[in-house]
């Protein structure tokens, strides 16, 4: 049954009777509009105040300063809240709480030293084991957080649209005062097209990331060792109708090399095994999808390897094919250690 959009909503226990996606997108759009209104007001105030032929006739009264303060407040309020909303869309509450907890730890006495092995060319899993999980021992960080792309899209869209608004105000001011600059008007057309494209791109990203909530992957132990069995846990948040959801263990090789003056990176997937696979899943914002799976590292496989120009990386990859939203693929790095030789273990 199709849900009608509601203006008002209420909470019933942990359930929320509202469209989570629409709310998040609406809030982000609201603050984006506030930011652009601020830029518009600021540019009008500045253009009016300084549009005199003779600077000696320049008069700046209380009205100008009032407009300046109001527009700067709008810019700050809109920009700051937009950034906060984007961060909220791309991270779960637990993740944010963990980040706050970590920041508090750092502020008080610094991060405690962790006992780590000293295996040559094997990456140290320090960044992986400093985040405890809620179901299993360690929560894995995502390789590329969607908030980066979303933040970059927001900055580009806001900066370009703000610039275009300033130029548009200047052009209008000149047009009204009879000093028509055709070159500026002509330049405004392609700049406006770019501004429109940037805004559309940002809205598309916002829609994509607001609907697809964070993916959480936890493992029972780290580092992993070839030939041993572990447990894994997957949690997917958001409001989704998924055709399929797959958790896979993959291994990829990476080589960095120079070609002329360019530095190129080539990757090749050399191993993949499906750990868990589900189909026709329905995920609601109030009840995240949760699934435990067995994580078996095959015996005799290459361990994680890192040298200046080469790497062997192990990843837990979550792939989803969804209805209505763009499909997504998220990767979580794990470190696989070489098996300990009997002689070394007995020492």
């Amino acid at each position: 049954m199709v849900e009608l959009p509601r203006l008002w909503s209420k909470k019933r226990g942990s359930r929320l009777l509202m469209q989570y996606t629409a709310g998040a997108v609406g809030e982000a759009l609201y603050y984006a509009v506030l930011f652009l209104l601020g830029v518009l007001a600021l540019s009008i105030a500045v253009a009016r105040a300084f549009s005199v032929d003779d600077l000696s006739q320049l008069r700046i009264g209380y009205g100008f300063w009032l407009t300046l303060i109001a527009s700067l407040s709008l810019i700050g309020l809109g920009g700051g809240n937009l950034a906060y909303r984007i961060l909220r869309i791309s991270a779960s509450g637990e993740r944010r709480a963990a980040l706050v907890g970590r920041a508090e730890q750092l502020a008080v006495g610094g991060r405690p030293a962790l006992p780590l092995g000293t295996l040559p060319c094997v990456p140290v899993p320090a960044s992986l084991i400093d985040s405890p999980g809620t179901h299993l021992a360690y929560r894995l960080p995502e390789i590329e957080s969607p908030s980066r792309a979303l933040g970059a899209g927001a900055i580009l869209a806001l900066a370009w649209n703000g610039l275009w608004l300033v130029l548009a105000v200047v052009a209008c001011e000149q047009w009204l005062t009879g000093r028509r600059q055709w070159l500026l008007l002509i330049v405004l057309v392609p700049l406006g097209a770019i501004a429109w494209r940037a805004a559309r791109h940002f809205l598309e990203l916002l829609r994509q990331h607001a609907g697809v909530g964070p993916t959480i992957v936890e493992v029972s132990d780290l580092p992993l060792v070839g030939g041993r069995q572990y447990r894994g846990y997957l949690s997917q948040l958001g409001r989704l109708r998924l055709k399929s959801l797959t958790v896979a263990l993959t291994c990829e090789e990476e080589a960095t090399y120079r070609q002329g003056t360019d530095v190129r990176v080539e990757r090749a997937q050399v191993f993949e095994t499906v750990l868990w696979n589900g189909s026709r899943l329905s995920i609601d914002p109030g009840t995240p999808f949760e699934q435990e799976f067995a994580l078996a590292i095959p015996a005799g496989v290459m361990h994680s390897f890192q040298s200046p120009h080469h790497a062997v990386r192990w990843l837990i990859v979550v792939r989803a094919e969804s209805r209505g939203w763009p499909s997504f693929c998220r990767s979580f790095p794990v470190v696989v250690h070489p098996p300990v030789a009997p002689e070394a273990a007995s020492r």
Binding site: C121, E254, Y257, R258, E266, V301, M302, S307, H309, V312
Partner: protein, 123 residues
């Protein structure tokens, strides 16, 4: 010419295992030798630039080579990683390498590959 002989007949070693090898200089007058370097190392092959790591290194000057009559023994404990690997983009190879520096400026290099680890050929 340099001869190298691994003490492990198969040339396969487990991580953290003791590595031993014998070397000898042949058909070259020891009077021509300036110095000799012996190293146990891994290096990468394949796409991209070569990376190299040395697990053990020994340097013998002219007098030491003469005292040993051009024969020597290299012993070290192998590290637990990186294991030998045959991948698509990269290969990790282990070898013992001897570099002989002659008085006239020439260099003679000999190396003997070996395999560290159990099975990393498939992945």
């Amino acid at each position: 010419m340099i001869g190298l002989r691994l003490c492990q007949p198969q040339g396969c070693y487990l991580p953290s295992m003791e590595f031993q090898c014998r070397w000898h200089v042949e058909r070259i007058s020891l009077d021509q030798v300036d110095r000799l370097e012996a190293s146990v190392l891994w290096y990468t092959e394949g796409k991209g630039e070569t990376d190299l790591g040395v697990a053990a290194f020994q340097r013998l000057d002219r007098d030491a080579v003469l005292r040993a009559s051009g024969r020597g023994f290299l012993q070290t404990q192998l590290p637990a990683s990186p294991l030998s690997y045959e991948g698509r983009l990269l290969r990790v190879r282990w070898c013992v390498r001897l570099r002989l520096f002659l008085l006239d400026g020439r260099e003679i290099v000999a190396q003997q590959p070996f395999y560290l680890g159990a099975l990393t050929r498939d992945v």
